[in-house]
Assembly symmetry: C2
Homo-oligomer: 105 residues x 2
């Protein structure tokens, strides 16, 4: 199991627009080998820093399956519009973190 | 679904000790209402900042189930030894982030 998270810092007045981007997209992740599940998560609001934390949260069978996706046409299609709304929505750039399982089941 | 993550910045030469703490503990999370699954995750190493990122990653039915756990004896028992190894293992304090689902299933 491999957990791929991309962390987004979203301006508080842009959360509806941000969520709409995700709800209206046409995801084809389920076509990929090793894909288990996807959630868009809303985390805490950091008022002092001026953002709401969101994370895309995808569970794969393995890191290799995730990496194969990042090199696929499926990935390029999914990201072709990424960044076009940039400055109005985000504080800084998204930050990717990949996690492998140490313990638990 | 509610995802409770606690992020730990672990000194690179203390990762084995850190993982051992988790592997040797006696978890009773499964006794709690609404508990779905737990994983200890190992994330990226941030060499410039001098740590390896870990995250405890627990999935609950709801935020309410998670909050009930934080007020329980089960929680106090699970944390009674927390912090005793502090300075040798960690860079800074753990950081909690709770996430609710916006989209996905």
């Amino acid at each position: 199991m491999f957990v791929a998270m991309n962390r987004f810092k979203v301006k508080p007045d842009a959360t509806t627009a941000f969520e709409e981007i995700w709800k209206s997209r046409d995801s084809r992740l389920h076509e990929m080998k090793g894909f288990r599940e996807f959630h868009l998560l809303r985390g805490p609001e950091r008022e002092a820093e001026g953002y709401v934390l969101y994370a895309s949260h995808t569970i794969w069978e393995s890191r290799e399956d995730f990496e194969a996706w990042t090199k696929s046409q499926n990935f390029r299609d999914a990201h072709k519009n990424a960044g076009s709304q940039g400055r109005d929505i985000y504080v800084g750039h998204p930050e990717f973190e990949g996690f492998s399982v140490v313990e638990g089941a």
